[in-house]
Symmetry: D2
Subunit: 103 residues, 4 copies
Amino acid sequence: MQVSVDFCLIPLGVGVSLAKYIAACKPILDQAAVSWELHAYGTLIEGDWDDVFTAIKACHQKVHEMGAPRITTTLKVGTRTDKEQTMSDKVDSVMRLWHETAE
Amino acid sequence: MQVSVDFCLIPLGVGVSLAKYIAACKPILDQAAVSWELHAYGTLIEGDWDDVFTAIKACHQKVHEMGAPRITTTLKVGTRTDKEQTMSDKVDSVMRLWHETAE
Amino acid sequence: MQVSVDFCLIPLGVGVSLAKYIAACKPILDQAAVSWELHAYGTLIEGDWDDVFTAIKACHQKVHEMGAPRITTTLKVGTRTDKEQTMSDKVDSVMRLWHETAE
Amino acid sequence: MQVSVDFCLIPLGVGVSLAKYIAACKPILDQAAVSWELHAYGTLIEGDWDDVFTAIKACHQKVHEMGAPRITTTLKVGTRTDKEQTMSDKVDSVMRLWHETAE
């Protein structure tokens, strides 16, 4: 089952600068069989359900190992059986409507 | 790794009455080695990471089998290494502060 | 417009014990024209859109005043025009299906 | 109070093609005093708290007017008092760490 995920991991008890924890997840996602892309309030991940959630679990484990005693993560998780749709397809289908409307 | 999850599954393309899809997840959660509790905007689940996410995946599969072509789920996922804390401990620690303040 | 919200505020940069910040939101919610209820991974709030979001803004302001330099909040926000439905109605409609199924 | 928001609105009871509802929010965001950007699982919005939440409320109202009887929205809401930080600053601070690590 393919899944599209919006993944936002927040380590607690380590101050306000979270960038190094987010950065430490990069090699985990790179090595996983998933495609992913950072945005300003999370990371979009796309792939097989098990690959995606194995990577997310590994991110939690890594961030705990780095010293964060507590983590809270927010996820949006999308699956569909009616058609295949990549993350860029979703943006494209909205964009197309904007252009049609603007004409 | 123990995890506390707030799980809110929304089937799309099946109208506005979602209760039967949520209800269909009950046997899945009951059979999983997790503790869980329904609230008005989701389900709280607690257990080992793999047990919890195996159950969530099974809920997606079940709801697709029931005819929902598309699902979007929102999850909050909490892990901590500093202490064991159940869902009711979390509520208790806030409640205790309220009572102290009220005295 | 009536709204049902699941509200989970996480202060950052203040360590791992968040209970006192959550507790400080109680008087704000009590004074607002909303009904609310704590659960283990957030607070359910119900009321008029403006009352609910005024209270949520006041919680952010209060928690910053208490010394948290950064806050990240996760919200689920539900509105509907087809019928009035309280938070307990939602739980009831799932419960009813469970009992029917069990008979 | 400045706020960064990740906004994901899901209309229910209108089938599985949501793009036209998302597209209808564009003029609302364009007319608001906010900066915003679409991604594959939501829209990032940045601006003054009241401007951002007025726009989000207007999106709910618009999507109901278009015929959606029910909406569920997921929001991540970030505020901070320690420094000003735009959405692109946040991505930059992670990117910088990746490049340092790669050297």
